[in-house]
Amino acid sequence: MIRSVFFLAAFLIYTSSFAQSFQSMKDSKSFQQKLHSIAAKTTSLQSDFVQIKHLDVLSEDIESNGKLVYKANNKLRWEYTTPLEYLIILNGGKVSIKDEGKVSSYDLSGNKTFQKINEMMIGSIQGDLLVNEADYKYEFKENSSNYLVVMYPKEKKVQEFMKSINIYFSKKDYSVEQVKMLEQSGDYTLMKFKNKKINASISDKTFIIN
């Protein structure tokens, strides 16, 4: 249960802060419609990511690198490659985790928490995450190059650990460029996505742990 909560909260960790200042989005409905329309046409997505954990107390940020691969519908491979190796795969109603060579699998159907994780992970890619008004209050912003969606958790327990989730979208192709989770203390986790490939052919074998 605890581990599940950790994963859930961890996947809520999406945001970033670019240098340019943001102003209220002129037409947030149009933005959301466009986002959903693009998500509906997305059959696959591949990206490298850099995860930066900033802690005020440490003089250096902690950086992790990895790759993610998504294939419609509901197949996701999320893999850390350095400095540690860790792999999560969501596929066919199951979540599989490989850590230090040990593989664990869980059935999503009997586990509400993992169902929630599934919704969060896939939803963050498909854009569905932006309509969860039961759990978040939203702010829609923009500057000349990016759209920014700021999600404020409503639940107090989540608020203790997370002040907001900021998702930055490219204005060019509406893809997620950065995600940042801000903690109340000012510490944050930033994920930067790069080398994105959209709608490339991806083998189903990618979503099987060897």
């Binding site: 605890i2 950790f6 954990k53 107390v57 902690i62 230090e100 327990k157 650990f161």
Partner: protein, 215 residues
């Protein structure tokens, strides 16, 4: 599950409450001990007493009830003061506390881990890892030949309480004190620093496996 973990830790702790400070039977017989002052010549600290910070890949396991992987950062704030932060691989902070000369200060802890006894155990494990408060103490030093390795047994007082440390070369150190029996296994040395550290509790099914990533 966490409540269960806490209850079990509490129960075990209570059971060992009345344990004596006499030499544990399994350490006997010991040679005639010489009283000495602990220094780097007769006690081998795992790490240097001054460092900036360490980053470990960490797996915390409690029997088959809990297995939590993540990253553990350990920073020296000042001489004798440290801060440790355990976070998931995704960056979420699970606990963040300070310990040392200035006392024990919890900066953040996930509700499910917010149990004093749990954090105290982690603190004690890290203090042992850092050999905090050991050097400079008076101790009785015994040698125990048990093939194939020689063991050095140190009997000393920390916070006015008797602690035994059993050192087996650079590869294992065990601490025994009332409700505590913990071994630290060290391996994969590079430049005299162990890259692999296994902290194993003998009276509770708690282990902490650390792999040094950065220092």
């Amino acid at each position: 599950m966490q409540a269960s973990l806490t209850k079990r830790l509490l129960l075990i702790s209570t059971c060992f409450f009345l344990a004596s400070c006499n030499t544990p039977k399994h350490l006997l017989p010991l040679s005639k001990g010489n009283v000495t002052t602990l220094s780097k010549d007769n006690f081998r600290p795992i790490f240097k007493d001054k460092f900036k910070s360490f980053l470990f890949k960490t797996t915390l396991t409690y029997g088959d009830k809990l297995q939590q992987g993540g990253l553990l950062a350990l920073k020296q704030l000042s001489e004798g003061n440290y801060r440790t932060i355990f976070m998931t691989k995704f960056g979420m902070t699970l606990f963040d506390f300070e310990f040392g000369e200035n006392g024990f200060i919890v900066h953040k802890v996930l509700e499910q881990m917010d149990r004093k006894i749990f954090l105290k155990i982690i603190e004690q494990d890290l203090e042992m890892l850092l050999s905090r408060g050991i050097l400079g103490n008076k101790a009785k030093v015994f040698e125990k030949e048990s093939a194939p390795k020689k063991k050095v047994v140190l009997k000393t007082k920390l916070n006015k309480k008797t602690h035994f440390f059993v050192q087996e070369g650079a590869y294992k150190i065990t601490e025994i004190h009332q409700n505590r029996a913990v071994s630290i296994l060290l391996s994969k040395y590079i430049a005299k620093i162990p890259r692999s550290i296994d902290i194993q509790h003998h009276n509770i099914p708690l282990t902490m496996k650390l792999t040094l990533l950065k220092h």
